[in-house]
Symmetry: C2
Subunit: 289 residues, 2 copies
């Protein structure tokens, strides 16, 4: 075939990308072509605009490194990540709601004892995080793997400081006790801007958007026979709770911090300053039989 014009090219490309053996590759390729071409027909980009699009993607790629995932930021800020999340959690039942993974998860975080303090040398208000993990059928899940990570009180994750010699902090892996419970100490997180010194930051500014996410603590929780849970707990009252740049907030994931004066905390630790407690009880969906 030759002599393609704006009217006949799409059908030809759809036919061409559908020649592989794998039906799912065929379906995704053909849908991608149809929607990409519809987008182009809709906005009718000039050459300069299409070159700018190519340049944007190229710069987004150039921004990616072991500690920076600009394409995840792009997916997150265009609402794509939360849409994929929603589509994959239609039958959550009474399980804890999910939200985006984000770009800052690190595989195999340090495994620590329950009650450990993960704040490293970061300053901030001490925070005791307590919770439980249960199946949606009600039993506590002992030995569940609880990965947690969050930003420091200036809004940076540890990985963002690796290139300045920073080590691992504000992230860890715990295992729930015999009652399915876990606890650890950290510092109260704060709202923060997603990394906005790259193409995605430029896009946000051109779209008239702020780059902020309300304060939250990430959790990824796994237990045998259950769906892996990827979620956050958001701190109630944050000024960005209603305008999360990645569209990730759900009411069921918001919790009030309780605030306490210096003294002995419920786990026996003595605090010389005011501290806070964050409680959340997680529920995992059993895997389909």
């Amino acid at each position: 075939m030759r002599n393609f014009d704006e009217h006949n090219i799409t059908d030809e490309v759809v036919a061409k990308v559908g020649q592989g053996d794998n039906p799912r590759v065929r379906q995704i390729s053909q849908s991608l072509v149809r929607h990409l071409h519809d987008f182009i027909r809709d906005v009718e980009p000039s050459f300069e605009e299409w070159e700018a699009a190519i340049r944007f993607l190229t710069e987004t790629g150039a921004m990616c490194s072991d500690t920076r995932q600009e394409f995840i930021l792009l997916s997150d800020t265009l609402g794509a990540s939360m849409l994929v999340d929603a589509i994959n959690h239609r039958l959550a039942g009474n399980a804890t709601e999910t939200t985006v993974l984000g770009p800052f998860y690190v595989d195999n975080p340090p495994a620590l004892e329950l009650g450990s303090d993960i704040s490293g040398d970061h300053e901030g208000t001490p925070m005791l995080v307590r919770g439980s993990v249960a199946s949606s059928t009600g039993e506590p899940l002992a030995g569940a793997v609880v990965d947690t990570w969050h930003s420091d009180d200036e809004g940076y994750y540890d990985v963002q400081h690796y290139d300045q010699g920073g080590g691992v902090s504000l992230r860890a892996r715990f295992r729930t006790d015999a009652d399915g419970r876990f606890r650890f100490w950290s510092i109260v997180p704060k709202y923060y801007p997603i990394p906005d010194d790259g193409p995605v930051g430029r896009m946000l500014r051109q779209q008239g958007r702020h780059p902020y996410r309300p304060a939250h603590v990430h959790f990824m929780i796994g237990a045998p026979g259950h769906e892996k849970l990827v979620t956050h707990v958001f701190v109630a009252g944050d000024e960005y709770i209603d305008s999360d740049v990645v569209f990730g907030v759900k009411d069921s994931l918001i919790r009030e911090l309780s605030h306490h004066p210096a003294g002995t905390a419920p786990d026996g630790r003595t605090l010389e300053s005011d501290y806070a407690i964050l409680d959340y009880d997680f529920v995992l969906s059993p895997k389909p039989a």
Copy 2:
């Protein structure tokens, strides 16, 4: 806003990306979100599939360098480049038809005298390329800038050999003479695969496609008061003329090579081997007043 699900998230993201001052940025951003979300709703990617999509884009970015533009290859092989080309050339009239720029153009190629041989030390069948540049109103365009580039007879462009110490060859800039004519010597090009050792090559294999483009010579031609022309001349009879991997072939851009025995060529050069002649007369559109 919070508590987004697959039904209400798109309207919210469309509203958020439309807050900037520039109406074109607003239009493109909002259309992108609607089509991206429609694509996701259509194929309902699993998390693993969405991660694979992020990884594909990341690897495509990592493949890009000063001499490799994997995102242009992606745009070309998905038919997007030809669609953008078609949309931007609706009113071509009798002007020469256009086709994709491709990823191998280099700004400011070496300016050479008419009649120069650009083949460098490449082996192949000598080819005299002759042509003219005229306005669609009929006048010859003297002093028009004619950039040309093509692959060697193994299918590689010079830029693909830069990292092995290769220099500039098979590309040059000419200026038409007082009659709007140009001529140069090179070698007969051959069909070739687009660079397929990266993510786009993997995509093509999964889609059951070959990576070949039929033999062609690129031209980018500019003259004052006229639209810049970006096109190729394709060699008639190529085995891939009906299955160009980037959908770029148009009948009006195909020419038969004339073949000649060793001897004196029309420009006075003495050839010790058989040679070919490629003729093409280009017509540029005047710019709108």
